[in-house]
Symmetry: D2
Subunit: 162 residues, 4 copies
């Protein structure tokens, strides 16, 4: 496995600027995190965009699809904001005839102590090398086929649709 | 998936006592970590022993085997010291005809900032729900079948044998 | 020393809500932090308000002044947003004829890994028990008399005026 | 204030080696920590030795005394293991006729999440610029004159002698 990572922004990459008293989507964190964790595989990272998932448009999703198609690897990990993650995953189903695609993100920015970011990335990496071709969401410690998952906004967690 | 977690000690559970200027294997950390990460599944945790993996004997491995057999769940996650992890995994191959068994641990205690513990647990959880029945080692971001993995002591990481 | 802590909000208490993709001023963190650090003195904590410092009005400052006057202790620690910290400090000079008042805060929320919050609080606590009566700002590892300090917005740090 | 920092080892600098399943005194952490905290003053750091405080001898204390005397600065911060910290402090009283000397350390290694290291260093830095010449211990959020402090081994914290 030589996974290709495509980053799109979202809470996982949020950082805090005091000057503006505001959060912004910063540099993708996943490359540094994977290196700190001492992963024993090669990987590549590509930043497709830096957006909150609520701001991701159909044009953005077409771009993500292009990047997936263009990737040499058959193992694709996508970091994404949680609100539009399922919609983006569904838009990639056709590309996943040959590829394994796992989307993940975080409910708390990776910069926070106690964030779920590093756990979710671990879960996504673990799934990526074991699943059949297809599109999956790795959140809350579960690996969901993209056709059977939604974000429960009230409980702020992912769950199966049925 | 309703995984059963069996803890055996190891670096992942190491804590530091100032009074003795020494470390000891403490309470298993995995239950608290999984809850903090907001996992959306039920799980049970059982502490089989609290040992450095270098101190784990054949009798200990027989006990771990008993606990695996006795578990109601077909998804077993075992936290273990890294030095004897492969040996323990090999001792469980017969039990894995029906079950999925993933062993993981950490090269740095979970109490350390920047420890690989939470990432490794995520990777193990991700693998556990996607693999076929068998015994696997989830370390360094990889999911190894137990028959093709060793700890490279010099590089302090896990790698395939061939 | 039995310090009285008055919290007013600010970056130090910022937390992140995924649902709204937004931050808010949360519960004051200082009480929990001081307990975690194992401080060997008694202290009291009072939440006067929960505001960004840019939103603090003259009426708010009058309220803080009242709380300082009402406090039994002669050692007052105030956590405050960084932008209006000096202005609030100057408004307390009259109250400090008998009391030692140290204001501190953080440039990064305490919830962030690597935040300066716990260091700044330590610095403020260290100063509080050693200074003469007066009003001081403890930021960036320095203890400034309130009459000779400003926040350099460009460098995002505190410095002496002259 | 342009403090000079002398490091001697102790728990604050303990790191963990998996290969040996053991802790060792590592590189001094204080320089990196002060830079991360964004301190707005210049400082110098000198590593005098790397020892558990139980291993510090009279010869080591003579060496520390020499380093204090040789320092250009009148503001000396010493990081030290907690068990022998008071003894070392008492050995420096004569040197402190002109200088301010504050000793600090940690009950948990700085590498641990939730360690008291950064708080204690903050407290020491805050005290260093406010105290009269003399030798002080900054631990557990208190700034003790070295003549009136002991480590209570049972409670694992520092307290006044009387």
């Amino acid at each position: 496995m030589h996974p290709h990572v495509i980053t799109t922004g979202g809470t996982i990459d949020k950082i805090y600027f005091d000057a503006k008293s505001d959060y912004q989507v910063g540099e993708p964190v996943i490359g540094d995190l994977l290196r700190q964790m001492g992963v024993a595989f090669e990987f590549t990272v590509e930043s497709a965009m830096r957006k909150d998932s609520l701001d991701i448009t159909e044009a953005d999703r077409a771009l993500i699809r292009d990047r997936v198609q263009a990737a040499d690897s058959d193992h694709i990990l996508i970091t994404h904001g949680t609100d539009g993650m399922v919609t983006t995953g569904l838009a990639l189903v056709r590309e996943a005839a040959q590829k394994r695609i796992v989307l993940t993100g975080a409910l708390q920015p990776a910069a926070f102590a106690g964030s779920d970011a590093i756990f979710n990335i671990g879960c996504a990496i673990g799934a990526l090398q074991c699943v059949d071709p297809g599109v999956y969401i790795a959140m809350n410690g579960r690996v969901f086929p993209v056709g059977n998952v939604r974000k429960n906004l009230e409980k702020n967690r992912f769950e199966p649709v049925r």
